[in-house]
Amino acid sequence: MSLDADQVKKIAHLARLKIDDTDVPGYVTNLSNILEIFEQMRTIDTANVTPMSHPVEAVQRLRDDEVRETDQRDVFQALAPSTENGLYLVPRVIE
């Protein structure tokens, strides 16, 4: 399986990555090579192997339902480029 230039551009757009048109052929080759490795792995018989969704044999630990965070808005908002009335301001998004 190999990718074409349009698929690479679409993936870049979904990930909000700005890529140069001149770099696209290089990405097509490199990403296709990675997929090629998966193709090779696919030929292995895994019928008797349990799928692994996590590399560690552990289960999720749970936290008691308690409020422990305090209001640190001023500290956090000092990092933000723009705020007003306690809101973070971002370039306008219109649906």
Binding site: L14, V59, R63, D65, R68, E69, N85, L89, V90, R92
Partner: protein
């Protein structure tokens, strides 16, 4: 051509935990913007999610209540998309292995029959923040207090065939989650909202038509209106030779219409994958049994108990168990009055009508269950008639005190003294001698007139049955 409507609902149930699903920030509604958004909610570098035990507990209760399999092992996944109210660039949700599997909910249809609606799955996820588009000089304001609030998304099968059925299902689901105390049910604050998938197909066609997904509807009334509008729109489109396209639409309550959300074509490419920050959630058989044992009496069970032990009709029983608050109110009133029929009639009748009129829920009633029982007791012991009781109820609603106080102050006590009523009867007969002669000669219709006149003279305080009896006696004299 005749069309059949096909509807499936995705209901977002906001879980009533104190803290967020993956952080220890508060979920309380209405706080000043961003004062309840901690480092985890803001996705600052290096933070990790830690799952809230209570969110898992609530999802488990829900799964058991709808007869579903609660997954012994479920996995969180990342749903990737970019929007400023989602700081991580992904929403933590569940995809391939949700915590709640296939279950069902039964709804009552108009004719009294029951219809089973399938629940495909329910999964845990975090809510996003809020975007405020007005007033910031060309910028959008972001409040992340809601970011990370736990949601249980309940996905139904496309089993509903009308807006009415969809509303019945949504109401039933609302009752269930409030009975279970896993959601406060406050629709205005967005604690319970839904997306409706709507399509139409010619009657007899097996495959479904293309569906529109109507987003974020937060009232029972709007669900009904949005679906009805959408069904009309799709049928008109087909009749005019057009084609329904699969898309996301928004319901505009002010204009009572749905419109397309001009979403970008790749919007649905969420590239889900298991979240490496979270391990699989494991639920043991022992834990399941423990949760099962603590489940409260559910609406269906309560309804059956009302039918079996109180002798109520299935219709009345369904009405009185529609919400946990209403059922609790009813049971308190019965306990005080010892009269099931009277209590059921008055709660389903006067009380419901009054609540509807003021658009209040039973929890917001101006007359408490104890006070209401006080009123019913005065009907029961014949202190007042049912008619006068309505007047007393109105006064109680307006804050004029207890039933006894209102009866006392307004002098509404029923007259049971036969002598007093008899003299009123005599007076009415004397004033209407002509009609009385007609009544005597067999014009029975006039009976109502005489009873009415006497009741009027007594200002409604005479007992109608007693008046009737006295007039009949006069006829024989």
């Amino acid at each position: 051509m005749n069309y059949e409507t096909v509807i499936g609902l995705e209901i977002h149930v906001q879980l009533a935990t104190k803290s967020k699903i993956f952080s220890a920030a508060s979920t309380a509604y209405g706080a000043a913007p961003n004062t309840q958004a901690c480092a985890v909610d803001l996705a600052l570098p290096g933070v990790l999610p830690v799952l809230n035990k209570e969110a898992v507990h609530m999802a488990t209760k829900f799964g058991l209540a709808i007869g579903a399999e609660v997954a012994p092992r479920s996995v969180f996944a990342r749903k990737n998309y970019f929007y400023p109210d989602l700081p991580k660039g992904y929403q933590i949700s569940q995809f391939e292995l949700p915590i709640v599997g296939t279950g069902h909910l039964d709804i009552e249809l108009k004719g009294g029959e029951t219809k089973r609606i399938g629940v495909t799955r329910a999964h845990l996820e975090e809510d996003a923040g809020k975007s405020l588009h007005e007033d910031f000089a060309g910028m959008t304001g972001i409040d992340l207090n809601r970011a990370g609030t736990p949601l249980l998304e309940v996905v139904s099968e496309p089993d509903m065939r009308s807006a009415e059925e969809a509303v019945a299902y949504m109401k039933k689901m609302h009752a269930l989650v409030t009975y279970l105390e896993i959601c406060d049910g406050n629709m205005q604050e967005g604690s319970f909202r839904c997306d409706a998938n709507v399509s139409v197909r010619p009657v007899g066609q097996a495959e479904f038509g293309a569906r529109a997904e109507i987003k974020n509807i937060n009232s029972f009334r709007f669900v009904e209106r949005a679906i009805n509008y959408e069904v009309e729109r799709q049928i008109d489109l087909i009749e005019e030779g057009g084609v329904v396209v699969q898309e996301t639409r928004l319901y505009d309550a002010d204009r009572d219409e749905t419109r397309s959300m001009r979403s970008k074509e790749e919007a649905n490419d969420y590239r889900y994958f298991p979240d490496p920050d979270l391990l699989p959630v494991v639920i043991s058989a022992e834990y399941l049994e423990q949760v099962r044992a603590e489940l409260p009496e559910l609406p269906e069970e309560k309804k059956q108990r009302y039918i079996d032990t109180f002798g109520l009709s299935p219709y009345d029983a369904a009405g009185l168990t529609a919400s946990r608050e209403l059922a609790d109110y009813f049971e308190t009133v019965i306990e005080k009055t010892g009269d099931v029929r009277l209590s059921a009639n008055w709660i389903s009748g006067e009380m419901s009508a009054r609540l509807n009129k003021d658009d209040l829920s039973i929890a917001e009633s101006k007359v408490s269950a104890e006070a209401f029982a006080g009123l019913l007791l005065r009907i029961k012991d014949n202190t007042i008639s049912g008619k006068i009781a309505k007047e007393v109820f109105e006064a109680m609603w307006n804050g004029e005190g207890s039933a006894d106080a209102v009866i006392e102050v307004k002098g509404l006590k029923q007259i049971t003294d036969t002598g007093a009523i008899e003299s009123m009867v005599d007076e009415v007969i004397a004033n209407n001698a002509g009609q009385f002669a007609e009544l005597k000669s067999g014009k029975d219709k006039l009976m109502g007139f005489f009873v009415g006149q006497v009741l009027k003279a007594s200002k409604g305080k005479a007992n109608p049955a007693q008046v009737n009896e006295l007039i009949r006696k006069k006829l024989q004299d």
